[in-house]
């Protein structure tokens, strides 16, 4: 077991080299095409797209009021489409190609519009076009996650502009730092499937947007409860399935690492759901469906950065920890600080991702049934690296998000009028009603 991790690390570095110098690496025969790996990553790509359409869209749509249900579905769908175009144009290249002198911080434009990438170009053991598609589905779900911070009041144009610029200025560079051979990758940050890259960046950015555009009218006392908890459950259940592709696919191969990632993902989700259920049952007397499936998502977000490094025991520990930490943060953000991060993007996704990122330093140890740290690295050293990685990505995400919102506001209002907000975004922004 311990030997698999260094192997995984070398695989990552080989991938990084291949991404920058595919022809040279191929000439050296460093990587061979694998049909099995390709088949699995293709499958995982579909699963991760499924996480946004329709899983996340339904999860969020059920949590808002009935007059805004279509607007949230619309946000997720349009972000999917616009992120795909951005990813093809420059996003992928800036995240995963060689940036030359600036490579520590950002990739280059050599692969803009997939320039030079054909059906025979390899990335590791899979065609680069498959890697591109797999990563595209991640680039889709990240800005879509932030939809939960600003629903029921954001202007459609403001949402579109924010999503595009956030993708380019936050997601792309952070992805390059951690997965594209940038400075955090060189430091040895462990982020298997995106606890930092996806969940922490989206979480803190969500908080920034929620603060900057302000609360929904009537928050926190006069807000109606989720209009359709059934949608929330359906969305959460689909997210759970899709997450197998998210974490398992991040192994980029059809192997035991992918299998273990799926196993720990599943266990963490199950344990965190039960953990959240117990909290509500003890505290409020009734275990609620919305709470239960929120626990599921907390467990999934928490295991994400750790999913390729921990074993089943680590997954149980992460699952147990996820619920009370995220549950507590929902209260802190909404009640204590009165920040209307409406659907708890930061408290559930951001804090979950951060929890997993920090705890992996210990839970990856063989004594916790983990797959081991890199050779010669102690848990303390890894913890420091994880901390630096989290602090740097959070700081950058906050800074960039503030700048993005500030600039967009110079061009267009980020919020709809009070009257439109009261009437609901479905009819005022989209001219339709969810329920006729």
């Amino acid at each position: 077991m311990e030997k698999r991790l260094p192997k995984f690390f070398s695989f990552i570095s080989v991938t990084a080299i291949l991404l920058s110098l595919p022809d040279v690496a191929l000439a050296q025969g460093a990587a061979k095409f694998s049909g099995a790996d390709t088949a699995w990553v293709l499958t995982a790509t579909a699963l991760v797209l499924f996480m946004t359409l329709p899983a996340l869209a339904l999860f969020y749509a059920g949590l808002v009021r009935s007059r805004n249900v279509l607007s949230v579905l619309m946000h997720c769908f349009v972000i999917c489409c616009v992120a795909s175009v951005v990813w093809l144009a420059v996003g992928y290249s800036l995240a995963f190609s060689d940036g030359g002198a600036a490579n520590q911080y950002i990739g280059g434009l050599s692969k803009a519009f997939l320039s030079g990438v054909g059906i025979d170009t390899l990335s590791g053991t899979i065609p680069e076009i498959v890697f591109f598609m797999f990563q595209m589905t991640f680039a889709i779900i990240k800005p879509a996650l932030i939809v939960g911070a600003y629903p029921e009041r954001i202007s459609f144009l403001g949402m579109l502009l924010f999503s595009v610029f956030w993708l380019l200025l936050v997601y792309v560079p952070v992805t390059h730092w951690i997965w594209g051979g940038g400075w955090l990758a060189e430091m040895g940050v462990m982020d298997f499937a995106g606890g930092l890259v996806v969940h922490l960046t989206a979480g803190v950015s969500a908080l920034v947007v929620a603060v900057m555009i302000g609360s929904r009218r009537g928050f926190p006392r006069e807000i109606n409860p989720p209009h359709n908890p059934g949608y929330v459950m359906i969305g959460a259940a689909m997210l759970w399935v899709g997450w197998f592709g998210f974490n398992g696919g991040s192994a980029l191969g059809a192997n035991g690492s992918a299998g273990m990632a799926i196993a720990v993902t599943h266990i963490s989700a199950a344990v965190a759901s039960l953990s959240w259920m117990m909290i509500e049952w003890l505290k409020h007397g009734k275990p609620s469906l919305v709470g239960f499936v929120t626990g599921t998502i907390a467990g999934l977000a928490t295991i994400t950065p750790a999913s390729g490094f921990v074993g089943p025991i680590g997954a149980v520990i992460l699952g147990i920890a996820a619920a009370p930490i995220c549950y507590g943060m929902v209260h802190v953000i909404k009640q204590r600080f009165q920040i209307d991060d409406s659907l708890d993007v930061f408290a559930v996704h951001g804090v979950g991702g951060l929890t997993g990122t920090i705890m992996v330093a210990f839970l990856a140890l063989p004594s916790f049934g983990g797959l081991g740290l890199a050779e010669g690295v102690t848990a303390g050293q890894q913890l420091w690296v994880q901390f630096v990685g989290a602090a740097a990505t959070a700081a950058w995400a906050i800074f960039a998000s503030v700048v993005i919102v500030w600039i967009i506001r110079l061009v267009t209002p980020m919020r709809v009028s009070e009257e439109d907000e009261t009437e609901g975004l479905d009819i005022t922004s989209h001219g339709e009603r969810g329920y006729n």
């Binding site: 609620s288 919305v290 709470g291 929902v330 909404k334 009640q335 708890d344």
Partner: protein, 112 residues
């Protein structure tokens, strides 16, 4: 003729309907409504956050009857919608000036 309008707990609708048929009530209009009275609202908890529910779901029934049975109908509703707990609802009785059956044009007592 009287129009008897009652706002009752949703769970008591079947009991009330069952009690009115033997009294010769041949029609009834039922609506799902929300409102508040002395019961006020209540709170619901989602993700640990309390939401104030100001308007409680109720059922509104409307029954038009001849004067001689009105008293019995009111009594039947009162007895069958009663749980003894706050929030059982209210009954209102109005005078009806005219009633017409649309299909035949029959009026008043014949129309009910």
């Amino acid at each position: 003729m009287k129009m008897i309008m009652a706002v009752i707990k949703p769970s008591k609708l079947d009991d009330v309907r069952g009690a009115l048929s033997p009294l010769g009530v041949t029609g009834m209009t039922v609506s799902e409504v929300k409102g508040f009275g002395r019961q006020g609202g209540h709170t619901e908890i989602y993700r640990g956050a309390e939401y104030e529910i100001h308007f409680v779901p109720k059922i509104k029934i409307e029954v038009a009857v001849m004067d001689d049975v009105a008293e019995n109908v009111v009594t039947a509703i009162r007895e069958n919608a009663n749980t003894g707990k706050i929030g059982d609802g209210k009954i209102f009785v109005f005078d009806v000036a005219e009633a017409v059956r649309i299909r035949t044009g029959e009026t008043d007592g014949d129309a009910l």
